[in-house]
Symmetry: C2
Subunit: 422 residues, 2 copies
């Protein structure tokens, strides 16, 4: 029987000593009522909250869990490196091995830099694009998330118009809109940020149109600007390379993070020789950017990526989940829009403009042991099995049944209404 009393008590303590009790993308402020904020255990495909409730986890820590929590080969590498060194006055040799592994794996990459946050990697891309030819304008698709620094955080509080004075937006997958933005940049175009596919919150996902991707490449070449693919969220869940290899387009820079160390803190920017000089000119750093343990974890992760069928299994499992969930929805009289790659599914309900049905469904599923998000794309991991999907569908069947009964009394999320109104 699900309960949330310990989580509630922790939230009350947190509210005293943390602004709003929590912040950032892992805050449950926009989640359905009763979603747990604190977790005490993670293993394979499962997470446990502070009350001891166990969930099959479809958020994977918002991405990092690629191979299953605590994957043994990765944790062995962590322990082995921890016994030797971690944060010292310089990197360990594993940094060179890891950079070599990134360059070997990613077709467009001639070099790699490492950092901690995905935002570090996209910030470095921004700076390198500007250092490259001394130009200023950077193009970003409307509503695309590329991190949470003043130049790109999705909320304006604490930022200035100057922070994005030279950022121009365009519509994803719209070559005309992209061309207009390039014209607006004139002879001052530094770079184009491309999401690997459209994965905005609260919206259906869409894969990149190949013509759009080729146009982005062509416009960058014509203007001597850098093309950047932000693979922080999608990396290694689409292909074992930069995600735009799937549409045959190679960027100059790509940003990586989240999955790279299967949950150990590491992110990366990789680039080609064209961008190497500019990459060597910027000054960026961080106290823990050169720590050896997350690099050892990343090397172990990439070894599994390159030597197993983890991706094909994830894709199969994602397809099974999608087919099962959509069929089940249909049986209960609901229609789903289940969009994006099957390894990064976004699930929204038809005829649900204020998302009250989706929120109600997720809450019912959560209380039955399945952790979904009603507004953010979800994540499949390679530890998931057919049995996990079967257990998931058992819970979601009961959740559909419950919202079918309560449909007319479901209320929209107050926090979501406030956000959308504001």
């Amino acid at each position: 029987m699900w309960s949330g009393s310990k989580d509630k008590a922790l939230r009350e303590r947190a509210a005293e000593v943390i602004p709003n009790g929590m912040y950032g993308h892992m805050s449950t402020v926009l989640m359905p009522e009763d979603y747990p904020q604190f977790f005490t255990r993670a293993e394979g495909t499962r997470i446990w909250d502070a009350d001891g409730n166990c969930y099959i986890d479809y958020m994977c820590a918002y991405g990092p869990n690629l191979l299953g929590y605590g994957r043994s080969e990765v944790m062995d590498a962590v322990r082995k490196q921890q016994a030797k060194s971690d944060t010292t006055p310089g990197p360990a040799p594993v940094m060179v091995e890891l950079a070599e592994a990134m360059v070997a794996m990613i077709s467009h990459a001639d070099w790699a830099m490492f950092c901690k946050n995905g935002s570090d990697a996209t910030m470095m891309a921004l700076m390198i694009a500007r250092a490259y030819r001394g130009k200023r304008k950077v193009l970003v698709a409307k509503n695309a998330y590329h991190g949470a620094m003043p130049w790109n955080t999705p909320r304006p509080a604490g930022t200035l118009p100057e922070d994005r004075a030279h950022v121009i937006t365009f519509d994803y997958n719209d070559t005309d809109s992209l061309a207009d933005a390039v014209r607006e940049a004139g002879d001052d175009l530094a770079g184009i940020f491309a999401a690997p596919f459209r994965h905005d919150t609260f919206a259906d996902q869409s894969l990149p149109d190949a013509e759009y991707a080729r146009t982005a490449r062509k416009l960058c070449d014509e203007r001597d600007a850098l093309l950047i693919v932000d693979d922080v969220r999608a990396g290694l869940r689409v292909t074992r390379d930069c995600s735009w290899e799937t549409v045959g387009v190679r960027p100059d820079l790509s940003a990586w993070g989240k999955v790279l160390g299967n949950g150990q803190p590491i992110s990366s920017l990789v680039g080609n020789d064209r961008a190497r000089k500019a990459a060597g000119e910027i000054f960026v750093t961080g106290s823990f950017w050169f720590s050896a343990v997350p690099m050892a974890a990343a090397l172990a992760t990439l070894k599994i990526v390159n030597s197993t069928d983890y991706l094909e299994r994830m894709q199969d499992i994602g397809d099974t989940f999608r087919a099962g969930l959509c069929a089940q929805a249909n049986d209960y009289g609901f229609a789903l829009r289940h969009t994006g790659p099957s390894t990064l599914p976004m699930v929204l309900f038809e005829e649900d403009p204020d998302l009250r049905v989706g929120y109600g469904f997720c809450r019912e599923a959560m209380q039955r042991g399945v952790y979904f998000s009603p507004y953010h794309n979800m994540f499949i991991n390679a530890a998931m099995t057919e049995q996990d999907i079967a257990e998931t569908l058992e819970a979601t069947g009961a959740a559909f049944e419950a919202i079918k009964r309560s449909r007319n009394s479901l209320k929209p999320s107050a926090a979501l209404a406030a956000l959308m109104g504001g």
Copy 2:
């Protein structure tokens, strides 16, 4: 017998796959010739490079090593938390405990937020200061280092004038200069960034003048702006509280990092109730900001900080090191300027305008097993013993002897000359 062939081979491999072979504050580009770039082992007060050379380490990973590398109580906490959870879809309860511990330890703090890089914490301070009353101007002491983001990185490549359009500089410890800067900000003053003491590279350090610190507080109060102390580098090496408690001045915000998890990746911004609402309005986040393992490490570190005489022992050891090194220099006919708190010593030679003597000395000490920096403040850690200082002085005696002999043939560092000229 010291050798550097394996390090050299690693550098050659690195040059292929990393821009300039290395970047950021741990690059040895500005270090004396032959300084090792790569390290393979760290334990207590010692580090080993890729060639197996062992050093008594006075850089402490540029700060993080507070209690000795691999300090057992901290690593026990790391392993214990690793067995439970690390990066999951939300924080573990340890986040609440850690925030409570920060608030209990730091006099001005009513709340805490956690992040990864020191730069994350100073960026959050910048954003909160601007969100607080919607004002824009931020004052920063000339040459003070507060991170490496476009608004504050010490080198301009890849940044725009807009990134620091509302940053005004003043001279550290100069109340007139500070007052002028506040006048320049007019009714648009968002905040004043204060270094806990002046710890610029290539320069003597100076402790904060109490009158200057009080003036900064008073000016912020008069203008309804936030006072920020950036304790990322100096935190827990000056006092068990915000460093400006030593001069009786409480900021609204203070930034922490480096030592917090004794080498595990975590940084923090803490603040008072005045700044709480603004802190809750900004949107900042990172993939690994809520990971439980570094928080468990930080909690274990703070427990040692609050229950042992680690600080007094560090201060004693720092005093012994300072007295011993200065006396020894004198014996060999050199005069040192050994400035700043004894736990964060900066050592420069008199009559050494291009630092060639300091560089020569550090190189000789390095080849005898002592790892110093000739241009950056150094760091004492709590694992250091009288025996470490005795061994250090044995090496430095030989190093003074060597540079006394070679003094007239010492050459300035070419990389340093290029930096200073450029």
